[in-house]
Symmetry: D2
Subunit: 349 residues, 4 copies
């Protein structure tokens, strides 16, 4: 019963098989192989347009290099207070963008509130050098709260971005989970809503180590080859990432694994809904579930072999957690089995 | 007949098999898995001491983070003029060490001349803020010229490092090739000669993507966990690197693949020695061979299916290349076959 | 009636005279002149200990280089939400410390609340690379709200710093104003309370351009000469700063000018206290005064020649400003005259 | 007899007087004063076009911020091997341009040889991420060797810059000395020859601390306000720089002081030419003179009160210095007197 994180899983068998299949023979290095080129074309098809795509090894790299590519001196980027870029990346985005700043924006259930976003941007009037200057907006889809921005919600943020002339970046470490939750195409969830750059994650959804920095706005990619290489994120045997993505996209595997992860989370949520000993902090259509339970139950679950993190309730949800209670985070993945979910629900009682 | 680079090969079957074997199941992320721990211990055994080891994805990352860990403001590091750090890393070492400088040191056959090194260091007198301050010496073993520093040669450089209080870094992208060429243990080639930090490469010698930043001087590693994470080089499913190294070290596979690569290069050199149409620029005991041939022959070789790079002769060897001639670089690897070598030698005539 | 900022004043006549007096003749450059050395010794006397002092041209430079000198990868520094370092320096502290982060800490009247500070630090558990690591605490004395930390308040913050092993930096752009408000010696306000580094400001208090980065903890200064030079903040004719400080310290001029500025602010506050049309947002013993007036009165004051900034009320004071009201910031300096103060008070009615 | 450096002088009396004259009264800070605006307009007149001008405190700041404004990831700038940017700025240019690299170009008498420049640029083929990418050419006028590029020589370098799409920067720490040596207008020495950015120095030629970053190509200045502020080089009482420049330009003072400095150097050179005990390493029309003398004479000169630096002969001139000989650097300035020059020449015998 492993619900700690989707990155505790290994690789999907198809991904492992693809790596093995491509391990023999020779091919040009640094992204110039036929396989690299083939997968780059697949990205064009996936996004329904010509994109500029750069394979990297970590989601933090994709996010950080995205901000590096649109960097401004004294720049300030806006993200949700609980976003991975600001909470979990050890300052990599700031480092790679030469000291630019991330400003936290509040909003319930992991999503930036547009009014709060506007208020934060307003603190940086155009041309006022003392404060610094707005540089980007970055949203996380699916969010760290397991929720997803609806198209209308993305559009609302995108309008603010356009009004201020700011690039809009989407941290898609769980892109597939959001996509299938919303039943949209990638274009419908990104370019059609004004998203300029996507950190497209494969690792959490079945790959070993496969992330892609995808520029929908290809003008912003002009310096990206040098930015990636200078960051030491250009792999010599780049096709080991391409091979993973090749299997990932083959026959819609990526959507299937995401659907499975989401379904396992929905099953958890249904079970929690039926339990007298647990309740959901909020509904979350992607692959993370946040129940509130008594501390005693949490300890008991752990003792009986369930693995998860107790979660520090975000500001906007702190009031939901009563005395003697705690919030858990349960993450499902392609590797989560229905048995484990049911076992867990049983333990809740 | 692929002699372009050792990074055109894929992964050794044992490495691919290890990845597949470890792809199922769950394990703690970010380097905390049992497999990560096991392989870290293997590194202790390999180096015959407690080391601080950090898995990363590229040799450029290992080199750059090494310099970042010993960074000084206005710092200046010394390396051979043709070293990978200065010639092939797009400024990553400078970027990660906050603008420190790499100063090229001359020397024949890819190896720094100790006197030249001393002369360069002398340009930066202690405490003279205008020039900047010496920060590190970095040598490449095996070198970019396919040669290897002998223990005495490393000792000579190490003495200079110690005399100036400078950390000594070894770029070991081809560590194994040098090791078997010299028939030394890792400790004999590093710690016993005063090397403080090693960029330990697995990728060119049979892995997909497995490099390790190894601190023999563990004091220098204190900030390394944060430096790696801030650089976006901490992998969530870190055990995919551990799994590669696990197979790499198993039963001495890494020494065997390196021996094979070197042997293939030696066979090339023997063949070239017997040819009337080619001659060696210099002897190179590791896995790179540098013949000089007529431009006509180079074109003919390429037409007949041999793949290699024409090589811009380094300063110290420019006089070896006559008019109408060109220097080639031939790189062998675990995947190079004797057949291909013999075919190539036959083509030389 | 100029109350916009203390940096709208020029230079005190004694400072100007000192510059003229030292403008002829020759002297070693880059801080090696007799005058530089003399003023460095004066700093030792002022702080009652051997200090390491570095002249720079701006307060932002002093603050940024201080943080650069104690920089950590993934580092996080804690400051008040309205502190100059986070609100007014265009990301210079982050830039000079290679992308380290400033975390805002709340607290009333411009002063960090110790409990809020502890809570913020607790978000960065030791060794947890994802969040980053605590690196420094920086407090502003006098604060941006014209208030001053009492010795006990500094001690409370210093204890937190020591408990977490964090250097304590004081932004003393208005150091003298705080000092005379508290009637302490520099040592009593800094070293005796555990302050490690001071940005010692002269510019706002009568100099043209004279700031000093003062290390009370001289161990932290080891790299400072290179850090300053690399930042392009080492002046060739460094004695033009020394000459300013020489006059500044001569016969206690600096304390006299600060006392005058504070007295002018006190006079403003008394006048505001006696007015029916204005009230103080809070008492502020240094040289800034924050009245709340009707927007109509603010407009009228401006029309009649008073110059000041309307001030965005900080979070903790937003409730003090009623509808139709606005908060003003009035800053006094060595150059403020009693006449102007009285004229302004008269206009309040 | 001070010939150590032009930055050992203080400030010209007119500059000191201007500072005193402007020290009273109030004025908007951060460059918004009437005086700042007036001097900005003077710069337009001086350069015969609308320029974007940014006052800074050091020549190193001007050079570094210039490179920061045209920064590219993995960028490589080309300068003469003895240029101040590469030899005397402690890596500030690299730091401010996020780790970009300076590549030394050889050439006699302090001037880049165009063919050598082309050869260095050729090492960085377009789009080849491993090497990095050309980013700028920077030349020094007058050079560190006291020589000046002729218009034709600047044009030759400018053509190379344009051919490669590279911005051309001029380090004009001794701009005025070159200008009067060539008897050109600023436009004739810069914009008409394709120079894009000038570091315009006032400090060495009579100011305390007055440098200006001047963009002739104003497109390149778009981010400069933020770049300067982020670098902590925006002065609050910015008019103290403006006041210096105001006096500097008044009635052509700057040309007069430069002419005097050059004349003093010419007088030195004439004296050396007439001496049997000294000879010139090369002719230098600006304000630096490089005689070669016996070591015994050098010691004797020093003993008798002459102050100068012995100069490490550059590569291209090493053969000029015989055994038992040494090269001196003699720098003159607005403050050098004819008496001191004659005294020195007398001592040569």
């Amino acid at each position: 019963m492993i619900f700690t994180s989707d990155n505790w899983a290994g690789a999907h068998p198809a991904v492992a098989a693809s790596l093995t299949a491509h391990s023999s023979g020779f091919a040009p290095a640094y992204g110039a192989s036929d396989l690299d080129r083939k997968v780059e074309k697949t990205f064009n098809e996936v996004f329904g347009q010509e994109v500029a795509v750069f394979f990297v090894g970590t989601g933090t790299a994709a996010n950080s290099l995205a901000l590096s590519a649109i960097n401004l001196p004294g720049g300030v980027s806006f993200c949700h207070r609980e976003a991975h870029v600001i909470a979990d990346e050890c300052g990599a985005p700031e480092f790679f963008s030469h000291g630019s700043r991330l400003v936290p924006v509040d909003g319930p259930e992991g999503k930036m509130d547009p009014a709060a976003l506007e208020a934060e941007i307003a603190r940086f009037p155009a041309g006022f050098v003392h404060a610094g200057q707005p540089m980007a907006i970055t949203l996380t889809q699916a969010t760290e709260a397991g929720t997803v921005y609806t198209p209308d919600e993305i559009r609302a943020i995108s309008r603010i971005a356009k009004a201020h002339g700011l690039p809009l970046h989407m941290d898609g470490a769980r892109f597939a989970n959001a996509l299938v939750a919303l039943d949209l195409t990638p274009a419908q969830m990104t370019s059609e809503l004004g998203v300029d750059i996507v950190s497209f994650g494969g690792t959490k959804n079945g790959c070993w180590c496969a992330e892609a920095l995808v520029f929908l706005n290809t003008d912003m990619a002009r310096q990206a080859p040098f930015i990636r290489k200078r960051a030491a994120h250009l792999f010599s045997k780049s096709r080991f990432i391409a091979a993973q993505f090749d299997a990932y996209f083959e026959n819609g595997l990526w959507l299937e694994t995401a659907r499975h992860a989401n379904a396992m989370s929905a099953r958890l949520q249904a079970g929690i809904g039926n339990s007298d000993n647990a309740r959901l902090a909020w509904q979350s259509p992607a692959n993370e579930t946040f129940p509130i339970v008594s501390k005693a139950l949490a300890a008991d679950l752990a003792k009986k072999g369930a693995m998860f993190y107790e979660w520090s309730a975000p500001r906007s949800a702190a009031h939901l957690v009563g005395p003697g209670e705690t919030m858990l985070r349960l993450v499902t993945s392609f590797a989560t089995t229905q048995d484990h979910v049911d076992q867990f629900v049983d333990l809740l009682g």
